[in-house]
Amino acid sequence: MKKIKGVSVSGGVAIGKVQIINQNKLVIKRHNIDKFEVEEELTKFEDSIEHVVEEIDLLIENISQSKVNKDILEAHKMILKDPDLTANIKKSIKTELLSLEKAIKLHFTDVIELFDNMENDYLSTRSSDYEDVAYRLLSHVLKQNDHLSHEINENAILVMNKISPSMATKVFKKQINGLCMEKGSKNSHSSIIARSMNLPMIVNVESIIDAVKDEDLVILNGNNGDVIVHPDDATIQKYRKFVAKQDEEKSQLLKVVDLPTKTKDNKKIPLMSNIEIPDEIQQVRKVKSEGIGLFRTEFLFMGTNKLPIEEEQFEIYKKVAEECYPNPLVIRTIDIGGDKLTKLLNIEHEVNPNLGCRGIRISLKYDLIFKQQIKAILRANLKGNIKIMFPMISCVAEIKKSKKIIQECSDELKVNKIKHNPNIKIGAMIEIPSAAITSDLLAKECDFLSIGTNDLVQYTMAVDRDNASLSEYYQPSHLSVLRLIKMTIENAHKENIKVALCGEMASEKKYIKLLIGLDVDELSVSPGRFLMVKKEILNTNYEAAAKLDEKIFHALVEV
């Protein structure tokens, strides 16, 4: 038995048989051919194209349900059948005597470079399609198994070096028990999905591929990051019990999926989801969430060194809004810290990014990025279920400026005769104490407010929430924080607008009754916590919670 320590990115315990998935780099060993080999090479080329086209047809039939995926795969087919591609590769083989693999690689390298250098942003993002096609074609020619043709065993624990987004999409459709990776990070695409599915996942597990082989039994403890290789019988027994308990809890939670979300005394508390990437929508639908209360848009900057563009955002927002309809989709404008934008915008390094140029401050300063996002949202809002939310609001002036920009965007779209819906509800995130304290004024300018407790606690208590040594100072239930939340809710209700709460506080069991007692209208939590929160709401008596809160306030004052 051996324990290897990794970093847990999604909790829970999993036991299962290892399936190693190697996504090797394709290595080209044969560069040139002899003249007599030309004919054979050309035939091989035609066969390969045919084979890969068939492979894509199969994918279109079986895997992709969404139209977007289908369109992409259709485009891949078109790339393979491109007469220019055929002519170029054949020419390289015939006249330069290059091997097929070398010719393919050269051709695609040229094309990808061409696209990357294009001024038109929309086209320059297309080079990834060519990379995908090149990988597929080359892996066929080199007879190295294409990663996408791997069959994934049911209930397996997948062990791999790293995982690409396209691989992740396939993996998460299968019934697997857990994921174990040599590389990876907490905020990667696959980690986010694993969390929203409650699927145990551990990354940064050193040399795990060498430590196990296919079919070995392995235990992942996503609660502390331990990977147990070759466990002894006693350990297996112990963890099996744990998994049984975990499964029982899960099946208990599934029972509440179809129930309406209301307290015991029939107060409706709409429960929505927070998502970080569009792919989480599957999970949102599974738990029957009443909309998306927080759609973060920082994913636009994931894995790219380019600024996001309107067209790409429009497609994404439109799709997510359609999936949500008729429930609302609240899109939060970019809440990226200056530290992440330094490279892109040549912003000077900030000594204290948390108190620096982030959230709405970035948007108002670089209104080109802001306007692209607003326009994409207005265009995507054809069904009228999208709302816009601004992060890091600290005063009313910022809301007024933002509204003016929305108006400008709408006017510009109108002049260019581009279809859009200018009627959109707007809201402010209440996450800075100054916003909470002036929430009476903000409520007059907004259609809704949404309390972001993570930052609200951090800024009220002046404590960095990621600093483990200060965790005792990070107190979501401190009287100061509760007063700010209460004040915000009362001020909003005076103006007849609703208050949602989308911070992590809403997904901690111990705070849910407290928040309902404070009269919060809606809660929004990550899909992985959704059912737990729902069950707790169903167990709450609103009248009793409100009375208890009064007592708590008195008690806290007397401390």
Binding site: D71, E74, A75, M78, I79, K81, D82, P83, D84, L85, V111, L114, F115, M118, E119, N120, Y122, L123, R126, D129, E311, N416, K417, I418, K419
Partner: protein, 88 residues
């Protein structure tokens, strides 16, 4: 041989989707099909060719078809441009 000059009327210009539509339509015909923009000539049946044109809103293109069904090819492709690739 037929040559026809057209203008790009859809706001977004020649991005991936219109390019795909053009190639899909053009490959149904037997005639050769070329598109000329400024001094660049590309094969209108090649997705890469059409995409690399990077033709933006308002720019002018020449469509050139040569073959037995050239008339039908030009007609179908011009309609795509006229209908702004179903974008607006």
């Amino acid at each position: 041989m037929i040559r026809k000059t057209i203008k790009i009327k859809n706001k977004l210009g020649m991005h991936a989707r219109p390019a795909t539509m053009i190639v899909k339509a053009a490959t149904k015909f037997r005639s050769e099909f070329k598109i000329v923009k400024d001094d660049i000539e590309i094969n209108g049946k090649s997705i890469m060719g059409v995409m690399t044109l990077a033709a933006e809103f308002g720019s002018t293109l020449d469509l050139i078809a040569d073959g037995i069904d050239e008339e039908y090819l030009i007609k179908e492709i011009s309609e795509l441009f006229d209908n702004k690739f179903d974008e607006e």
